[in-house]
């Protein structure tokens, strides 16, 4: 195709597991990796005669996310039963929200690579219970573990406002950062805390006419990488299919495809002739929720600065580049730690370098966060000052932070002194060393003063001699200046 013009259209459905201690309608613990069927009670087992009771924390967490997504929060919501016929929810229905979701009509801003942001509209966000897990065996049966059944889930549905796989990934990452900032979900992809179902189709321009390809819903996505790759794959697959079959949204059918993580392809699961009939009806076991103004205000007061706003502020207020600001704001406690260092007098750019280059590396090695290294913020502020004043080189700072991570209470000056890491910047003292080096190396001096090819090499040699004589403690910037003055 010479001038194939097409536009990708993606809407996303995201399920986020909320980090409550107990399940949504019973007091069983929400705990990953427990023995199968050990966190189960008559309520989540769907025994007759039991009565579910709503977890207040789950509702408040969901409202908090709704607010962060700029949604309208419903003053009145209720619970509905959605028919479900798989053994991982033994009641044969899922408790969900149908016509009165607790939040609707919002938007989320996502950062784009250009440093700009894009607004994606949110249709709704509602609460529902998770199912258990079906495990497929080699034999002619399946195994069911109900530990996860009844875990609170927030289902978020976006408008089809995303136009590239990268945008979809950006939304997923932004949402992960947001729910972690709000403290409502661990959002650990490996534990299935976030699951994505994108709806993908294309608008193809051919011979002056616009064609829409049939919508495909992709399932089984449990990583950002799979999310992005599956959309890229679908785009090329739908282009091929359109030119092969000519099927469009109007003439084709909506289908569900699963993502094969090994072969990196989507595989047809089923085609839906008509919309599934879930036969929703209000759950008579659960009473509605009325959210008073006071209660809503109280929840609102728990909102924090959202990560994308923090990132933007770090660029504007501290002069950091967008990439560094993104690294610092990826985790809320790290971003707050950075601001504490700055508040204690640390230069913002130095603080950013030390945190993103040294501390993050140390934290990753230890498997903790930057704050988890337990180095007081004022010590990092001091270290920043030492680097700015030339008392410590950037290399020395790396050594000092490594030692600090082992003994967090030791101030950087003490470490620098103990390890002879203090950089000499005293002009008088260094001048004496320079004079000595110049006297010992007349050949190099001549090479420099006569100019020409050998000049810069000889200059570097002299600098190296000074560094050697000072055991690497001379401030190279100051030495260069002295050398330049003496040899001009």
């Amino acid at each position: 195709m010479d001038h194939l013009q097409y536009k990708v259209v993606v809407g996303l459905e995201i399920h986020v597991q909320l980090c409550t201690k107990s399940k949504m309608f019973c007091s069983c613990a929400v705990e990953f990796g427990q023995p199968p069927n050990s966190r189960v009670c008559p309520v989540c087992l769907g025994m007759p005669g039991v009565l579910p009771v709503m977890n207040k924390q789950a509702l408040e967490y969901a409202v908090l996310v709704g607010l962060a997504l700029n949604c309208e929060i419903a003053a009145f919501t209720k619970w509905d039963r959605k028919s479900y016929y798989y053994p991982d929810l033994p009641k044969n229905y899922q408790i969900s929200q149908y016509d009165l979701p607790l939040s609707a009509g919002g938007f989320i801003e996502i950062p784009l690579e250009s440093g700009k942001s894009k607004t994606i509209r949110i249709i709704r966000a509602h609460l529902e219970e998770d199912a258990g897990k079906n495990l497929h065996t080699a034999g002619n049966f399946s195994q069911v573990d109900l530990n996860r059944a009844g875990t609170p889930l927030l289902e978020i549905v976006t408008e089809p406002d995303m136009n590239t796989a990268a945008e979809v990934r950006a939304l997923a990452v932004e949402l992960q950062r947001m729910v972690r900032y709000l403290g409502v979900s661990e959002a650990d992809m490996q534990k299935g805390h976030m699951r994505f179902e994108p709806n993908v189709n294309l608008i193809i321009a051919k011979d002056g006419i616009e064609y829409r390809t049939p919508i495909v819903e992709i399932k089984n996505l449990n990583s950002f990488r799979a999310l992005e790759k599956s959309i890229d794959y679908e785009v090329s697959r739908q282009i091929d299919e359109f030119f092969e079959t000519g099927k469009t949204l109007e003439t084709g059918t909506k289908s569900t495809r699963g993502w094969d993580d090994v072969k990196e392809v989507t595989v047809l699961q089923r085609e839906k002739e008509d919309a599934p009939d879930y036969r929703y009806f209000p759950d008579p076991d659960l009473v509605p929720v009325q959210l008073s103004k006071e209660w809503l205000e109280e929840i609102k007061s728990r909102l924090c600065e959202l990560p994308i706003h923090k990132q933007l502020r770090f660029v504007n207020e501290y002069g950091l580049n967008d990439y560094d600001a993104g690294v610092l704001t990826a985790d809320r406690s790290t971003a707050e730690y950075f601001e504490q260092v700055v508040a204690q007098g640390g230069d913002a750019k130095r603080a950013c370098n030390i945190i993103t280059q040294d501390l993050l590396k140390l934290a990753n090695e230890k498997g903790c966060t930057v704050v988890g290294l337990r180095i007081p913020a004022n010590h990092i502020a001091q270290l920043c000052k030492m680097v700015v004043m030339g008392v410590a080189s950037a290399t020395a700072a790396t050594t000092i932070t490594t030692i600090m991570s082992g003994s967090p209470d030791k101030p950087p000056e003490v470490i620098a002194r103990e390890r002879n890491l203090i950089q000499k910047s005293d002009v008088g003292e260094l001048e004496a060393v320079v004079d000595q080096v110049l006297a010992e190396n007349p050949k190099a001096v001549e090479d420099v003063t006569s100019g020409g090819k050998k000049s810069s090499k000889a200059c570097g040699f002299l600098l190296g001699q000074v560094m050697q004589k000072t055991k690497g403690q001379a401030n190279p910037k100051v030495v260069s200046e002295i050398l330049a003055k003496k040899l001009e």
């Binding site: 409550t20 201690k21 107990s22 007091s27 069983c28 613990a29 023995p35 199968p36 069927n37 050990s38 966190r39 189960v40 009670c41 008559p42 087992l45 009771v53 709503m54 977890n55 207040k56 924390q57 789950a58 509702l59 009145f76 209720k78 028919s83 016929y85 798989y86 053994p87 991982d88 009165l100 998770d130 199912a131 897990k133 079906n134 495990l135 497929h136 065996t137 002619n140 049966f141 399946s142 195994q143 069911v144 573990d145 109900l146 699951r195 399932k219 569900t256 699961q269 089923r270 009939d277 036969r279 209000p282 008579p284 659960l286 009473v287 509605p288 929720v289 009325q290």
Partner: protein, 102 residues
Amino acid sequence: MPEKIDQTQVKKVAKLSRLELTEEEVQQFTVQLSAILDYVEKLSELDTEGVEPLAHCLPISNVFRQDEIRESLGTEKTLANAPQRDGEFFKVPKILDDSSWA
């Protein structure tokens, strides 16, 4: 009086409920369900202009529990009534059309 519901609809509802009905039962339920719908129809004689739809039959709302953990049944009791088990799991017929969450 024409039936409120026909056999195709009864078969569809049965399918949605994963119920296997004999032809006899389909006929029987078509008559019965139609009678039920006729009965419910009586309600539409009432004037409901300006009446909010009822979400729940009790005039209460906001019944919550605190987010506290209580002891669960444990694997053995959980599986006690299971028709079949496989170790610590419920054993169920193989799931073919897996659009569940697993």
